[in-house]
Symmetry: C2
Subunit: 91 residues, 2 copies
DNA sequence: ACACTATTTAGGATTTAATCTAATTAGATT
DNA sequence: AATCTAATTAGATTAAATCCTAAATAGTGT
């Protein structure tokens, strides 16, 4: 079954928004932080929660760290919820 | 978009287990409570969270209150998460 | 190696969630 | 209307999450 950390990770609106933004490609912490009225340390801890849940992963390039959406885990989340709700997935 | 209460609701393992059990049909509070080492008031508050999120609804029949899974909202959850992760749903 | 920039860790305050026991409500049945 | 059963509300406590400022780290690039 799916890791419980994932559910905790998507429980926070800012973390969901981060995930949504990462759909369109990798972003740096600074780039993401510009969208929220939140200190960088606070945002960093949101990243940590998402990383623990394995929903994102980090890659350094030059002076920046880029965050990437972990698409395979995202798919697992959906499968787990479908099972939870007893809904069949087509294909 | 989807109500934020839904994400909070599925964040707790007991609440997810309740949802799973309700897939197979309505259950009373007492019936559900027998599966958990938790006081009835605590469980009742879990029901309240699920109700607030509109994931379940209650129906009285005789001396019991039956809880039912709200399938339409369950489907909305999946759609919302698919959008969140940028995954297309077939059909 | 030194300094610069980006990000995270530490420590602490505040808020929200989860849980319990005891008391109450709601409705059903006699 | 009195009683019984099922479930919830109240009130208090403990645990977990969120957020901040200040300090530390990590890696880049001069």
């Amino acid at each position: 079954m799916l890791n419980s950390l994932v559910y905790k990770a998507i429980a926070h609106p800012i973390r969901r928004d981060i995930l949504k933004r990462l759909r369109d490609g990798p972003k740096t912490a600074g780039e993401l932080s510009s969208h929220y009225d939140l200190s960088k340390p606070s945002l960093s801890s949101h990243f940590a929660v998402l990383k623990e849940a394995d929903l994102i992963f980090a890659k350094r390039s030059g002076n920046h760290i880029y965050y990437n959406l972990n698409v395979s885990v995202a798919n697992e989340v959906l499968s787990a919820l479908m099972e939870l709700f007893g809904i069949e997935r087509e294909i």
